[in-house]
């Protein structure tokens, strides 16, 4: 009995110390001087632009990774092709690789003297602009949909798809009417995880964006720049916005998560 309580308090205390206290402190410091200063801090043009840019990148990166994730998951589970094992391993790379390294490699690729550095001479601006930031974000959030969908595809097997085929359904009809409904919750869950990752991305974007205030600054970068400029109210208020988005994401996760009995 005592041991069980000790375990519970231990676990809760650990969580409180590591998560709740720091995040709670951010909320406390944000509204320390009332609601108005915090509101002003997140509604100034620079902050609004950062929020807009964050949402814009999410609006491109999330659908791109969803589409790619579903297609890749089907390819990995349902098809045999040379290099399948390699692809399977590479999908996990973004999870293992530090985002800073991702940003740096994109910088080398598209920067002056890089393999694709010549693109900027033709007016195609990748680095220090939306395309580069989006590419970096897509890279770091790539595995989530694939990793959620693959086990579900394995579990449902091919019986239903084959039954649909014998009943006269063309491949795309089978996908739309049979496969997609079966994996829809896994896709939703993957989308939620991807969104969370995309909204919070800092390291890779920090390098490829050049961090030009009011131009290539996403919300996490804005927090950093305000913090460095000793505008703590601005930094805290923007952090609260990020925390609220994260909270909404976690809630969505709870709704979409297949029942596990927790």
């Amino acid at each position: 009995m005592t041991a069980r309580y000790a375990l519970r308090f231990g676990a809760l205390g650990y969580l409180a110390f590591l998560l709740l206290v720091p995040v709670g402190l951010v909320f406390y410091r944000t509204f320390e001087h009332g609601f108005q200063p915090a509101w002003d801090a997140v509604t100034n043009p620079q902050a609004l632009h950062a929020l807009w840019l964050t949402l814009l990148i999410a609006a491109i990166a999330v659908p791109a990774n969803t589409l790619f994730g579903v297609v890749l998951a089907i390819a990995l589970v349902r098809h045999r092709f040379p290099g399948r094992g390699l692809v399977n391993a590479i999908v996990d790379l973004p999870l293992a690789l530090s985002p800073v390294v991702v940003g740096f490699s994109l910088y080398l690729l598209y920067g002056t003297g890089g393999w694709l550095g010549g693109l900027s001479d033709h007016g195609i601006k990748i680095l220090f602009a939306l395309p580069g930031m989006t590419l970096a974000t897509i890279f770091v959030s790539l595995p989530f949909v694939v990793r959620e969908v693959v086990p579900v595809l394995r579990e449902i097997g091919t019986d239903q798809e084959q039954a649909a085929e014998t009943l006269g359904a063309a491949p795309f009809t089978t996908f739309r009417r049979i496969t997609l409904p079966a994996i829809r919750w896994a896709v939703c869950y993957g989308v939620v995880l991807t969104t969370a990752r995309v909204i919070g991305e800092f390291g890779a974007v920090s390098i490829v964006s050049g961090r030009i205030e009011g131009k290539t600054e996403t919300l996490p970068l804005y927090v950093q720049s305000q913090f460095e400029g000793f505008n703590t109210t601005g930094a805290f208020a923007a952090s609260v916005v990020l925390a609220l988005i994260a909270l909404a994401t976690v809630l969505a996760m709870r709704i979409f998560r297949p029942k596990e009995g927790i």
């Binding site: 084959q162 039954a163 649909a164 085929e165 014998t166 009943l167 006269g168 063309a170």
Partner: protein
Amino acid sequence: MGITVVEVTKQFGDFVALDDVSVAIPEGSLTALLGPSGSGKSTLLRVIAGLEEPDRGQVLLGDDDVTHQPARARGVGMVFQHYAAFKHMTVWENVAFGLKVRKRPKDEIRTRVHELLELVQLEGLAKRYPAQLSGGQRQRMALARALAVDPEVLLLDEPFGALDARVRKELRAWLRRLHDEVHVTTIIVTHDQEEAMEVAGQIVVINQGRVEQVGTPRELYDSPANEFVMSFVGPVNKIGDTFVRPRDISLSLEPEGDSTEAMVERVVHLGFEVRAELVRDDGQHLIAQLTQEEAQALELERGLIVYVRPSRQTVFAR
């Protein structure tokens, strides 16, 4: 529509699933593909369905060579061992699926689905989801779904394998009656010789990717082509090179002619029939099957000495 399989070979890596198989399935028949697991019977069915492409050989439906046609173009209805029910669709939507993808008019779909649900006795369950059905009901739904598109050929892959013994027996009888009503050329894959004999008019015995024998249940039982068929289609005693069915061992209390002495080791009562397990002087074990009356007349019991004589035996040329 008849089905002709010509010299079909199919390999999975090093494993030869089908080795030069040729079979003719007459139009309107109910044929069983019978064999142990891993014999290639399911692969043959899937080759006919178009779910596997053979490495060599041809598949003909009627006079059409469909070897390279995809499953969806072949007009076959298929029922899978584990139902393959569309889990997110109701019973009604499951049965209507084939008609919907064929873009049939709504009225026609409604009439046809209604008809089929009646045929498989699931009228009251149209709005249920597969998860709310028993195994037997799910399999009947799968049958209705396969029949909805008026298939030329109905293919059943161990359809009753996942069901309990009583439901399995019911569904067999029901399938038999259904076939008498619908007359569609039907192939049923099974590893259960009793099921094959009970349901099918023609049985194709398959072993290690080859056809061992084709015939009616009676032909297989009475004149098996080889040792494998002999021992697969029913219980058998093997005495040296000789094979004797338990039913063909006659027992008596007195020696007669060439009979040999044996001791009763065990008597098993199986309702109408009685199985006696015997051991001869030379250590040879035998199983004899008698009616209850015969057993009573002999007063069979453990330890009794009897005289056995095969009334009918088979020897295969090597």
